[in-house]
């Protein structure tokens, strides 16, 4: 019984954090944001050198062969630095899907290039996480048609993984689709609308347990999005505590006022158990299949709620400075707000959790 990170995991986190501290300062984020750059080439290259894109890819295909908990730790670090690189789509959803559903040929074709960072993959699951303006994605043999909203990691993607309305999974090369980038509040991540018009595809999975496979892919994504929010929330809390310990008003450090101190305490009290929830959900994905789906739903939904609470309170602790662009606090705020809605809103995901438990 050891509910804690291993030494290797602590080292991984430390390594990624060190790299991000060097190469993903607020100035870098700010500059990328001003240029609508969501795939910072040098940062992505540095992460690639560490093997980050191959975290979840088996060593047989050139990856590092780690588990979802490790990916969640990386996502936490990336969220903590509001890093402008692809990850959730290209390094989590796509590798999980290809390894679960792909043929040997498909694994050989795609995984080594994803692991090395040579290519990135956008991922479009819009039909399955609360469809909005989407046109349902349909297939006709090895072609795909339809319109997918809020595909992830689309900027400069070389290939797209798309889930069809009936839960098939297809890989479509970038040249086959029309990509419209979507500009959200969060300038650090890339989402887009992908238009498939009889696009030729490499069908990953078109028979067998289509629904179950897709659901597992979504589970992985939800845990990792939750981890990203955890990291961003922790960063906001840390900044709020630091600011409260420095800023003076009325001849006192504001953190000595109960109003401010208690806001910090409430943030910490809400956020700290979330860390355990994310760990557990990730570990369940890796090792306790019967609990994986429910804990993924709860991690996604609960982090969405706590994330919003922390983002708001941390901004309040900073007073007017939190509202300006000067400290850049809003990058974290907006990342948390985007995460809330990705891969199923909290309301949507809780409803799934109700179904899973047979309550409806």
């Amino acid at each position: 019984m050891d509910f804690a990170l291993s030494e290797e995991q602590q080292f991984l986190t430390q390594t990624v954090n060190d790299l991000l501290r060097d190469q993903c300062s607020l100035d870098v984020v700010r500059n990328d944001a001003s240029e609508n750059q969501t795939k910072n080439a040098s940062l992505y290259h540095a992460l690639t050198e560490l093997g980050i894109p191959g975290t979840l890819i088996s060593e047989d295909y050139g990856g590092v062969g780690l588990r979802l908990l490790d990916a969640a730790l990386i996502a936490e670090s990336l969220g903590g630095s509001v890093a402008t690189v692809p990850f959730i789509g290209s390094s989590v959803l796509a590798p999980v899907a290809i390894q679960l559903a792909g043929s040997e040929v498909q694994k050989d074709t795609w995984l080594p290039r994803l692991a090395s960072g040579e290519i990135t993959c956008g991922v479009a699951l819009g039909d399955h996480v609360g469809a909005r303006d989407n046109t349902p994605i349909s297939t006709n043999g090895a072609t795909v048609s339809g319109r997918a909203m809020f595909a992830l990691d689309v900027q400069d993607a070389d290939v797209f993984l798309v889930a069809t309305k009936n839960c098939e999974l297809h890989l479509v090369e970038a040249g086959e689709v029309e990509l419209n980038r979507l500009f959200t509040i969060d300038k650090t991540r890339s989402v887009g609308e992908i238009v498939f018009d009889s696009a030729s595809s490499d069908p990953l999975l078109s028979s067998g347990d289509l629904k179950g496979t897709l659901a597992t892919v979504v589970d992985a994504g939800r845990v990792v999005v939750a981890a990203d929010t955890l990291g961003a929330g922790q960063a906001m809390l840390d900044k709020a505590v630091a600011y409260a310990g420095e800023r003076q008003q009325f001849n006192r450090v504001i953190g000595s006022f109960q109003a401010v101190k208690h806001m910090c305490a409430e943030m910490a009290a809400e956020l700290e158990p979330c860390r355990s929830l994310v760990w557990y959900a990730a570990h369940a994905f890796d090792a306790i299949p019967e609990e994986a789906r429910l804990t993924a739903c709860h991690a996604k939904a609960h982090l969405a709620e706590v994330g919003r609470f922390v983002a708001r309170k941390a901004t309040e602790v900073h007073g007017g400075m939190g509202f300006t662009d000067l400290l850049g606090l809003h990058y974290w705020f907006k990342r948390i707000e985007l995460n809330r809605q990705l891969l199923g809103t909290p309301e949507f995901v809780r409803n799934e959790a109700a179904k899973l438990q047979g309550w409806i």
Partner: protein, 405 residues
């Protein structure tokens, strides 16, 4: 309890409606009041100024400003003021103003005769626009600790320091400003209230971008800016008390209950029209219950606003119902924006040009702007202090001795 309007007010309202029907084509755009352009001053009255003049002549702007200073000289009548606000909003016509709702009442109450004649008439005519120089980077909640200094040199004050959160500074003709003139006095007693032109040499305005991505505020830097000594309102060292007069007028504007009701209606419509998986959001019972909870809060605040209005009309101090408006009103607006965003789901995160964007990203903009309002003009924490101390009579925090900075 009588929610009908008496004949006098019904007549007033229908006259106003007729006026608006007849003249609204002269109104310079229905959108938010565009700031007067300082460059165009020499070209005679612009459309906004002509519209303001027409409103004053008809008694719909600067109503309670005495005639000798260019206003209508009417008795204060909060009900008529309310009707004017309501009808202009309904007709989507740009309302008039009273010069500046912070500066003008302050000058009328505390300025010299000369200052009133100098400042009030052009302000009312829209020829002299204002920005407020209060907050400083080091002085937010603790405004009285401000450190921008004004030292006397000959016939002038010489100002050095920095202000922040100065909305409209890039367009304003004038600033009313708090400066420290007696650095050795206790902090509340060392402040003076000055007015001066933004063209004064030594003033630099830099836009301040906020989390919404817009530069609605500015920083203003002073380097040896010289202001004649007679441009002080009130006496030296009394600026804090002059300023409290201004703050009082500003505070009332926030958390308007009609704004909340309009916003609620927009969300209701949104939830009826937006679909998830082909189902209108309104069919989602969890979302619907949340909307209903917000409706209950919204109605309570709306009727609370009617109660405040009635008190004002009777020249009674509204007390608690007014003290809570900013805290509760801003929070309600923020919560409603959050509800709209959540109803929109992923689409609710869109913020820039997209064919899928709803209402131009307005809900995100409001969500953030409301958080700014929760913080600005007295943070929620300061509001709670005020409610606790002034409305409920609880004691203040024990004072902490000033330590040398």
């Amino acid at each position: 309890m009588d929610l009908e309007y008496s004949a006098e007010y019904e007549d007033f309202r229908s006259e106003l409606r007729n006026f608006l029907e007849e003249h609204k084509h002269l109104s310079p755009g229905a959108v938010a009041r565009a700031p007067a352009n300082r460059e165009s001053k020499t070209d005679g009255p612009n459309p906004a100024q002509r519209w303001q003049q027409l409103l004053i002549e008809n008694g719909y702007a600067a109503r309670t400003i005495p005639k000798e200073y260019g206003g209508c000289g009417e008795e204060p009548d909060s009900l008529k003021a309310h009707i004017i606000a309501e009808e202009f909003a309904k007709a989507r016509v740009r309302p008039g103003h009273s010069g500046d709702n912070r500066l003008v009442p302050t000058v009328l109450e505390l300025g010299t005769e000369e200052q009133k004649r100098w400042l009030v008439p052009p302000s009312i005519r829209g020829e002299m626009s204002w920005c407020q120089g209060y907050s400083e980077p080091g002085s937010g909640s603790d405004l009285a600790s401000l450190s921008t200094r004004a030292e006397v040199d000959g016939d002038d004050f010489v100002i050095n320091g920095q202000k922040i959160w100065t909305s409209g500074a890039q367009h304003a003709d004038m600033m009313f400003c708090l400066v420290r003139t007696e650095p050795d006095a206790p902090k509340h007693q060392g402040i003076s209230y000055l007015v001066f032109s933004m063209d004064t040499p030594g003033i630099e305005v830099r836009p301040l971008v906020t989390m919404t991505g817009e530069a609605t505020f500015n920083e203003v830097f002073f380097t040896d800016a010289r202001v004649p000594k007679n441009q002080i309102i009130g006496k030296r060292g009394e600026g804090w008390f002059v300023a409290n007069n201004t703050l009082k007028h500003e505070r009332e504007g926030l958390g308007d209950p009609h704004q909340a009701e309009n916003r609620f209606r927009e969300i209701e419509e949104l939830m009826q029209n937006e679909n998830v998986d082909g189902e209108p959001i309104m069919n989602n019972p969890a979302h619907r219950d949340r909307l209903l909870q917000l409706q209950g809060r919204m109605l309570a605040m709306k009727y609370n606003g009617m109660r405040v209005l009635t008190s004002q009309r009777k020249h009674e101090e509204p007390g608690l119902p007014r003290w809570i408006i900013k805290l509760q009103g801003c929070e309600l607006n923020h919560q409603m924006a959050a509800m709209a965003i959540d109803s929109l789901g992923e689409l609710g995160t869109l913020y820039h040009h997209s064919e899928h964007i709803r209402a131009g990203g307005m809900w995100q903009q409001r969500f953030m702007m409301d958080l700014g309002l929760i913080i600005g003009g007295g943070t929620a924490q300061i509001q709670k202090n005020m409610i606790g101390e002034r409305a409920l009579g609880l004691p203040k925090e024990p004072k902490v001795e000033v330590k040398p900075a």
